[in-house]
């Protein structure tokens, strides 16, 4: 019943028949299916964080600090708003590119290139976390921003900032560790022996998700 070639019914009926067939709903490995479902759940976590941030931004009576001012750097006498954040965003999006290439080489079973690109991705992620640490230090030490208050305006600015970027930063840090472990296993030939590089793609899914979340944080927290 399962080994005969599948007869494809056209149209919506075919989609239904395919999806409600026995054994599995999606032709993907278990780990990949589970990662997708986890990311859906994680999406709800970040949505709740961002919605809550918007809510307290509306409920507070104090003025909201101007993010273009707060997150500006002075380079060679020029005052450039959001410079560091722009660089961080570039770094993270670049890391998505290297991750996608790693997945591609994983499909071709190119052990060395896959591992190299994954380590590069992890390094870019580490770079992102490093810049975030710089950003936090600057805010805390130089500007006097605290989770419970700041000199520029509403206390919720600092609360939301540290909570949301902190939670995202923990995701990135976890991702760096995750990618490093997988990359090490790629290099050691673990997946060659296992016969599949699917874990590389699963790790890639997670990494792209963390990048995507950053885009939303960037848009809703820094640009708004």
């Amino acid at each position: 019943m399962s080994h005969e070639p599948a007869t494809l019914e056209p149209g919506f009926r075919g989609v239904t028949a395919d999806w409600s067939a026995d054994k599995q709903a999606f032709p993907v490995p278990w780990g990949k299916a589970m990662m997708w479902i986890f990311l859906l759940s994680d999406t709800f976590i970040f949505s709740c964080f961002l919605t809550s941030y918007m809510n307290v931004r509306m409920s507070t009576t104090d003025p909201w600090p101007n993010t273009a001012e707060v997150f500006a750097l002075t380079v060679a006498g020029h005052h450039i708003p959001l410079l560091l954040i722009a660089i961080m965003t570039m770094v993270l999006i670049t890391s998505s590119g290297t991750m996608a290439m790693a997945v591609n080489f994983g499909y071709r079973r190119d052990r060395k290139r896959t591992a190299q690109l994954m380590f590069a991705t992890a390094a870019l992620g580490l770079c992102f976390v490093g810049m975030q640490a710089f950003e936090w230090t600057k805010l805390i030490v130089d500007e006097g921003v605290r989770p419970w208050g700041n000199p520029m305006g509403a206390a919720q600015f600092g609360s939301s900032f540290f909570m949301i970027t902190g939670f995202h930063g923990m995701h990135v840090t976890g991702g760096v560790i995750y990618l490093s472990v997988v990359a090490w296993r790629v290099l050691s030939g673990f997946y060659d022996r296992k016969g599949t590089y699917e874990t590389v793609e699963v790790a890639g899914l997670y990494w792209h998700f963390v990048d995507l979340v950053w885009v939303f944080i960037f848009a809703f927290f820094y640009l708004w």
């Binding site: 054994k23 599995q24 032709p27 490995p29 299916a33 709740c48």
Partner: protein
């Protein structure tokens, strides 16, 4: 390279039977052992909550007599009773317990897709329970914020447990959510990806459908609770103001300013309402299977039952603010949420009609599981009908602060699911332990619990309509609108509650005694069709199925098929002259 379904790759399941006692029963990765571990911890902590409710009833029924609970402790009892029962007993027992046990067995899988993660899920759950219990012993005792933990009072001094207790509660909830996520991912992925040959979605038993949908709801609803737990912990620990407005407490202005207490309510109920269905949907599914099996009839309207589960699951995300009618919101919001709430009654009513039509003119065997299943229909209709009152804004506003809500909530979310839990434990007890329970004690347990539940909660409707406020430590004669009959009702309720609580000891005795001394059970004592009863051994061994996975040829409800020699045909029996095609939808009969 052609893709081979993983269910067909047997080497993926290279099973190494654990030999040592510890690997077999403690650090076990076997879904059946994990299920029993989950169930035992859940029942144990549930007994704590049950004891607390008895103590509260002693206070309410006989004020100024026992003095076990001091007035300032009463809210702590309410809070812990509610939270334990809803989260740590019902959610854990239905998903961690029955979900773990039934999903792989009913779907013909050897285990969950990621057994190690499944094991971690249980240990995190145990940790969550331990942190929760630690709340009883920290300075100030557990939190007394009410089970909904509304700010600002949850973290303000003056509320019991506002320093340590609330942190234990929030930490415990966060750990529980991590534990559930690990389990829930497993349940959903197993249902999607690891069904055996022939097991299509529309052949899955409704138990699996209910648990599957409830797990999805959990994965999407618990994030809101997780986020609110983090934010409230930050408010409490380091003085942020997510939920805390500028308030004066104990005559002093607090450090907080500009937060939104309503935000917490929205987040909490965005979790809280789906949570109702996280508990209810597995109960719906399991009760469908119990009714069908013990009435020897196919479930009426299987497809509609499935669609109703899906519809209820989706709708449950757009009704949450009906818990907040008295919190103050735009009247149009109330209109919207009342409408969606009443729309949920449609799929729910479909399910109730289908249950009744399933046993209608069936060959009903009044076994212990069947009694509990029928009892569930009664209590659920009762609790559902009072839900129609509370779903309407104008009716809810005067009733919301009264015992009517207590009665409704306990009928629909306390008694109804717990009756299914009892029925399900009795139903699967022979498979889990290999022994048969004592039927007479089981029937005694049913009648005392079922009638007792009505003795407890029916008078509360009356009290609620009289306007008796809930969450009160006592009702002095100075509250003039409360007539003497309410005091009598309170005594009656308390005595009934103690009898019902004592009856649960009979249940525990039955379970424990039968485990050691009960007669050896038949592998399929109820002559049921679903796969878990067709395992080569009873109780099933590690890996469930021996050498070959089962193959499914029919739906789960081929009872009393005309022309068949017996009144049931298991799902793994192929079509033949002696075992004809049943009433499976889409298959001509």
């Amino acid at each position: 390279m052609a893709f081979v379904a993983i269910a067909d790759r047997d080497h993926e399941h290279a099973l190494h039977d654990p030999q040592s006692f510890i690997r077999k029963y403690i650090w076990s990765q076997d879904h059946k052992v994990i299920a029993v571990q989950y169930a035992l911890v859940a029942i144990s902590i549930g007994l704590v909550a049950l004891t607390m409710s008895v103590l509260m009833r002693l206070q309410l029924g006989f004020p100024d007599t026992f003095n076990i609970i001091a007035p300032q402790e009463y809210y702590q009892y309410i809070t812990m009773h509610g939270m334990i029962m809803v989260i740590y007993l019902l959610t854990a027992l239905f998903l961690g317990g029955f979900g773990n046990y039934l999903i792989p067995l009913m779907l013909g899988a050897r285990d969950m897709v990621f057994p190690y993660l499944n094991m971690l899920s249980f240990w995190f759950y145990l940790l969550a329970v331990l942190v929760l219990v630690a709340g009883f012993f920290v300075p100030g005792g557990p939190t007394g914020a009410g089970w909904t933990l509304y700010p600002p009072q949850a973290v303000l001094p003056g509320t019991p447990g506002a320093t340590w207790g609330i942190i234990c509660m929030l930490a415990s909830l966060a750990i529980f959510i991590v534990a559930f996520t690990m389990g829930g991912l497993n349940y959903v992925t197993t249902v999607l990806q690891a069904r055996c040959r022939g097991m299509t979605f529309m052949r899955m038993p409704l138990s699996v459908w209910g648990i599957f949908m409830a797990s999805i709801l959990g994965l999407l609803a618990f994030p809101a609770l997780f986020v609110s737990a983090i934010m409230m912990a930050l408010d409490s620990l380091i003085g942020t103001s997510f939920f805390m407005p500028a308030v004066a407490s104990m005559g002093e202005k607090t450090v907080h300013t500009g937060g939104s207490p309503l935000l917490f309510q929205h987040l909490f109920w965005f979790f809280g309402h789906p949570e109702v269905y996280i508990v209810a949907l597995p109960a719906f599914g399991i009760v469908s299977d119990l009714l069908s099996t013990h009435a020897r009839r196919n479930i009426f309207g299987y497809r509609m039952m499935v669609w109703a589960i899906l519809a209820i699951g989706c709708l449950s995300f757009v009704v949450w603010a009906h818990h907040m009618y008295v919190s103050g919101m735009n009247p149009y919001f109330g209109f919207f949420f009342a409408t969606t709430t009443l729309i949920i009654a449609v799929p729910t009513a479909i399910k109730v009609y289908n249950w009744v039509l399933t046993i209608w003119r069936g060959d009903v065997h009044l076994t212990v599981p069947m009694l509990f299943a029928i009892g569930f229909i009664f209590t659920f209709i009762n609790g559902g009908l009072t839900g129609l009152f509370l779903g309407n804004v104008t009716v809810d506003v005067p009733l919301s602060g009264t015992y009517f809500v207590v009665a409704h909530f306990h009928m629909v979310m306390g008694v109804s699911p717990i009756l299914v839990v009892f029925g399900a434990i009795y139903h699967w007890y022979p498979k889990i332990t290999g022994r048969m329970f004592d039927e007479a004690l089981g029937k005694f347990h049913f009648w005392m619990t079922f009638l007792g539940a009505y003795a407890i909660f029916l008078p509360m409707h009356y009290m609620g309509i009289l306007g008796v406020p809930r969450r009160y430590y006592g009702y002095s004669d100075a509250i003039q609108f409360i007539p003497p009959s309410v005091h009598e009702a309170n005594e009656w309720i308390s005595i009934s509650a103690m009898i019902v609580a004592a009856t649960q000891l009979v249940f525990l005795y039955n379970l424990i005694h039968s485990y050691f001394k009960g007669p050896v059970a038949d592998p399929n004592p109820w002559r049921a069709t679903t796969l878990e009863w067709q395992t080569p051994q009873t109780p099933p061994k590690h890996g469930n199925w021996g050498k070959d996975l089962p193959e499914v040829h029919r739906w789960a409800y081929d009872y009393s098929v005309p022309g068949a020699p017996e009144d049931f045909i298991p799902q793994n029996v192929p079509h033949s002259d002696k075992t004809p095609v049943g009433r499976e939808h889409g298959v001509p009969t």
